[in-house]
Amino acid sequence: MELKAIHENCSGCGICLMVCALENFREVNPSKAALRIEGRFPAPGDYRIHLCDQCGQCAEACPVEAIHLENGIYIIHEEECTGCMICVEECPNGVLFEHKSMEMPIKCTLCGECVDACPRDALQLVNNR
């Protein structure tokens, strides 16, 4: 499975960011979400959703091989991660995040809560096989 964005449905409300942080950290803190919304204003006047498609480039970039493929999802192993943040720099979609409260990066775990919570069906979980 992978996340897919329907950009034209997005209104930029950020509910996906909020539930992402709540589900994964039990925090009211959208700055700890593992996806991002880009408002393109004034022109062209729309939103773009940037999300993790589990491409695996973070795992390839990781110098200590702390990111492992498990059931189609790339997971950062906390005990192996050194916090170098090279994966954050290398992510082609810009959706791995450094946060001041964390020693390791924030990465999508494909929990699917953002899909469930979006009131406008702007996010989907699709079978990539």
């Binding site: 034209e8 997005c10 209104s11 930029g12 409300c13 950020g14 509910i15 909020m18 539930v19 709540l22 950290f25 039990r26 925090e27 009211v28 803190n29 959208p30 700055s31 700890k32 880009e38 408002g39 204003f41 004034p42 022109a43 062209p44 006047g45 729309d46 939103y47 946060h99 001041k100 409260s101 919570a117 009131p119 406008r120």
Partner: protein, 634 residues
Amino acid sequence: MLYGYAGTILRIDLSKGRIDKSPISKEMTDKFLGGRGFVAKILYDEIPPGTDPYSEDNIFVAATGPLTGHFLPASGKIHFGAKSPATGGYADSNMGGHFGPALKYAGYDALVIKGKAEELSYLFIEDDTIEIRSAAAYLGMGAIETETRLKKDLGNNFQIITIGPAGENRVRFACISHDFGRQAGRTGIGVVMGNKNIKAIAVKGTNALSVFDIEGAYAKGRESYQIIARKPGFKGWTPEGTAGITDWVNEVGAFPTRNFQTSFAEHYKDINGKAVIDKLKITDKGCFLCPTPCGKYGHTKTKSGAAYVEGPEYESIALFGGSCMLNTIEDVAYANYLCDELGLDTISAASVAAWTIECFEKGLLTREEIGREVKFGDLESVVYLIEQMSSRKGIGDLLAEGVKVASQKLGKGSEAFAIHVKGLEWTGYECRNAPAMMLAYMTADIGAHHNRAWVLGYDIVGESTDVHALIESGGGGGKLPKAAITGKSRAVIDSQHTRPLFDALGICRLQMMELGFEVKHYQQLYKLITGVDKTWSDMIDISEKIWHLTRAFNVREIKGFGRSFDYPPARFMEEPVPSGPNEGHYLTRAEVDVLLDEYYTARGWDKNGIPTKETLKRVGLDALADAMEAKGTR
């Protein structure tokens, strides 16, 4: 621990370059909740009595509420306040978008700005880092362009408020802009920023908010969205947003038309919600955590120019499309854009333009005085007037004062059709056959604004109901009988307590007002988030207390304040509506007096509209009651 709140008030004295972070007290949160409650309390306590609203002694407050930034529908509101440039009394103006939550995540429930910066500056706030930075590069720049430039300079994840040239040029109805089309539009709050030499405030916050019961609040938040998704208005109201009410308001004869000469515009189908969708819209544009975005972002092309613009929402349609009679939604949208960029409140700017055009039609202002011929329905006339007033050039210097002061200066009977209360221009509902709504406008603390109470539905169908249900029920469009005058005060007072309570909680009221999301859910969310066991009724009592506090502020700050400040313009008491569903109707001065007498009695105010000592003590404003008595204002 104060759950729900960030816990800190950030105070900045620009004259002294002093930055102070002070903890918010339990007493403050218990007695005034937040948002509008904090604004009212801080202004009353900290503004020196008699302060000139244009001076650096005025105080600028930005306050969130306990629910701002939390996981519940549309929790993105922030409330700005100051001594009012529009009325000289109490001012506040609220705004959606994403700025309020960002301020809270940075660690601050409220921001209090005193003094004046030496040069044009902007405030930079990133969590603990607070800096006053030069804004010389943005001098005279449009509000939207300033936001675009700052986002480019600072990063897209900063939330930014700006003022346009109107705020720098001391225009009495300058607004605050945010997120490329959201505004805190009313009361001239933008000029307070301008007079402090603050062009913008940029905020980024990365802290978590404390929650009393995180599991419970998370589950209740999820449930709230599911409940709203099942409301008929979720799919019925959202597509057109506030513009969707345009048809109904015309069909019940309450649409401000030709500077409120009449209350029905023949061309309303050309400027309604459907026209916004069909002719302008690119995307829905949502405020923070809103499942039903009323914001419609689009593009307009007219003979005066083309622009990207958010809206127009209903108020801009009513004032530019109705009061100024612009014929097409594209023209309305362009006037809307111009106000957004120049930093003007669309409601007041359109009202000033409509008043000027009527003055020209009646021969009270000449072509030479205005600088050109101006006509209703003509976009070029409206664009010209907007540009003049925002720059204070030529006739604009008079117009920048708003319709009250401008009509007093011009005289010649123009005061009769200067459509305002207390100095704030009237919003988008004509009320000559809507006595409850008329009373709501007359008694709103900031002047003629519908935010405090919206009871047009009560006037039309005799009960309060959500707006989606009203729209669905249709307006009919036939001739309406004259409405009863007595018995209106209770509905107005209930609305004046309920709607501003959302402003104190720091959330958007539209989930309840437009879709019917029930108050019991807000009560539960409040308890789960703050851990404080307040019933909705307890919170309504706080809202009532705030109402008396803002009235007392007006009594203290406006010379001779009392009953005479609560009357509508003479037009509404002397000229019958000439056309449409309410043809022939108006309220006599005697009928207006009945409305006021009943209202003052129900409020516990004297015949001059001053809160009695007993009333102030009943709602817990004992110290204020004693102070008013000592000064002889009570």
